[in-house]
Symmetry: C2
């Protein structure tokens, strides 16, 4: 069985998280994704964290399964080669994914003059034309002011807007390619990182809460809003998150802890209906007070045993080390993970794409390329250049292959 | 021009954020998305925050532009109608998007027996078969332990894993439908919320950092990791986030604040190369100490004026109220937003999809349906039922239309 998107050919000129994640997702679904970088690498090539070799774990993590071509993009000839790779007339090609300023040779107008049905996906910063990254979009989103205990804003560490943007780019690319397959029509598709944030804030009801109710959501520490959910320390210094959305999940907590009768007393005590999510939210402090000693008397393993098969919705807090050491879901016991050797870095548990397709077996997880690893191959196979011509391009510094140790 | 995905027909049986966001994104790209709910609504129908009417801002925010059909899914006849809607032989139909347990009538086997090329997208909780929601996946991710000041874990408030899952579902759906259009082959596509989390943790380098370096990322407050970025209080009690990834962004900070010469002294002072991201990260406390008085002496407006056109990468912190009141990007000045009347709720600034397609004008933003609003229309148009038959289904409680006030 051939991979799902194996007839798609995407060129990516990108850096950082969003566009590379979009391209990597397509590559992991079987598309050919050629990442073109300037010689020496783009601005994200040495981004921390680094392996002892100096190779970036960030860069290799976000570029798995791609092909890498390095060109002198500051020269006319380097740009011509890049444009030729983007616009050559493969049926599934003519697709550019970028988060770089699309002016000059890389503008939609310039490239679509070379291939009329070009599809160009372009991530920008802020919709007002200014630059933006995840952190400078996030601070404006309202979420840091509603995170933590509220004495001051708390930034998320997960680059959530970048991840969402990368996946919007995939969706947009497939939607645009679907139209092209039916009509022959290409187009430019743009996505502002600030709009990814704003659409999410709106979709989740925060804008309406301000406009309709005049309510500005306040921080609640680790408590869930609108239902019962909070964290509890265990006897051995660990912590767990426990959540009840449905009635069944709520009753499971009482049954598994043996505290059902005392929890039922919280309703009359606090004057709320514990049969509703809102009632359980309003009574969360009293519920927490009843439950906390149960967790404080048990180790994480004892909690795990008590909750196994109980229907309680819960999870342990883990730092990244505990996640890797203790969680079987983060290991090759999970078919999404494979231990793969990343050249220059070493072996680690690499994730494939989280989607599992019934009609297509999982591809082996492929490591990231070395920078420039596929320059010669792509120049020969895609552009039909001779060895002599490729040699000349190397000699004149227009292209580069992988660094040699 | 017809909307992008106007020939796609998706049935959604869902609750909460991820699957509804996936369906809404497709609807906003032009697909017909019929959300089927049990009579009275699914478990998310009254989720907080609520409007004064009791209508959920959460539910209406996540179901914009869909059609709503309510059926007695606990009866054989209700299920038969649902299965008929899912499997009827429209060319762009036969697509089910769900996050509910897919057993019995709603299993892939049962539905694909009625339509062989069925595509079923199914979001599950944890890859080990246990239930999970964003909060119980997030606690295990490592991120709460690396967020904030580190005295205890900090949960994110943004349901980031749900948002990513919803967008993976869109990507997976379009990829599966692309295969079906070429081969006639349907399939079940599954996605575990825990795998969305784990793939992200792996992609961003945290797993490799543990396995290759033995490093467990520690919390840094609001500082960026691996580059210069932190927050500063202003004279008027506001706060801004300032980031420098590139050299140009770094130099812009010195130029715009007039502190370039003193910032240059930080390099020799701290023994680092300020020409590198890593050096600026290592010297972040000293850099912050030089910059802080500049911000403390200025209001947010003065900072905004000083940074306008300067190339400094920055953003203001805003709570949700300030976002709505002060940020023109969160208003109809931004073409993504329109002021739309949501029946039962009121007018608010609704976001469309953040992707902007050059070949297709933006659709008007459509509000969420009232629960059951399209039951009769869909039964008549899609299943060809007569008014008499539809009347009988209402009388016997198998279907329901919208609640009447």
């Amino acid at each position: 069985m051939t991979p799902l998107l194996s007839d798609l050919r995407v060129v990516e000129v990108s850096a950082f998280i969003a566009a590379p994640l979009g391209g990597m997702t397509l590559a992991q679904l079987g598309a050919e994704v050629i990442r073109i970088d300037p010689i020496g690498g783009n601005i994200d090539y040495r981004r921390w964290p680094l392996a002892p070799s100096g190779d970036s774990l960030y860069w290799t993590g976000l570029n798995k399964g791609k092909k890498s071509v390095t060109l002198a993009l500051n020269t006319p000839e380097g740009r011509e080669i890049a444009a030729a790779l983007i616009t050559r007339p493969d049926p599934g090609g003519g697709i550019l994914l970028t988060n770089l300023p699309a002016s000059g040779w890389m503008s939609f107008d310039a490239l679509s003059a070379k291939r009329a049905d070009l599809i160009m996906l372009r991530l920008t910063g802020s919709s007002d034309g200014t630059g933006a990254v995840d952190y400078t979009v996030n601070c404006a989103s309202g979420f840091p002011m509603a995170t933590g205990e509220g004495d001051k804003p708390v930034n998320h560490v997960l680059p959530a807007w970048d991840i969402a943007a990368g996946l919007y780019l995939c969706t947009g690319l497939l939607a645009a390619e679907r139209l092209r397959a039916r009509t022959g029509k290409g187009q430019e598709v743009t996505l502002a990182l600030s709009d990814v944030m704003l659409a999410s804030v709106g979709n989740l009801g925060y804008v309406a809460d301000v406009q309709v109710n005049g309510t500005v959501r306040q921080p609640l520490g680790n408590d869930l809003y609108g239902a019962f959910g909070r964290d509890f320390p265990t006897r051995n210094g660990r912590r767990v998150m426990v959540v009840a959305i449905s009635d069944r999940q709520w009753k499971a907590i009482g049954a598994a802890t043996g505290l059902g009768e005392r929890l039922a007393m919280v309703g009359p005590l606090m004057g709320v209906d514990l049969g509703t999510e809102g009632g359980r939210f309003e009574a969360r402090e009293a519920i927490g007070a009843v439950l906390a000693p149960w967790f404080a008397a048990r180790t994480l393993d004892e909690v795990r045993t008590a909750f196994a098969g109980s229907g309680v919705l819960w999870g342990p807090y883990q730092d990244f080390g505990q996640l890797v050491a203790e969680d079987p879901r983060c290991s090759p016991a999970n078919p999404m993970f494979q231990e793969v050797e990343q050249p220059g870095v070493g072996r680690w548990r690499m994730p494939g794409v989280p989607l599992a397709f019934g009609a297509v077996p999982r591809d082996p997880v492929r490591p990231a390329p070395r920078l420039g690893q596929h320059t010669d191959e792509i120049l020969a196979e895609r552009l039909g250049l001779s060895s002599a011509e490729i040699g000349r391009l190397h000699d004149s510094g227009i292209v580069a292959g992988p660094e040699t140790a």
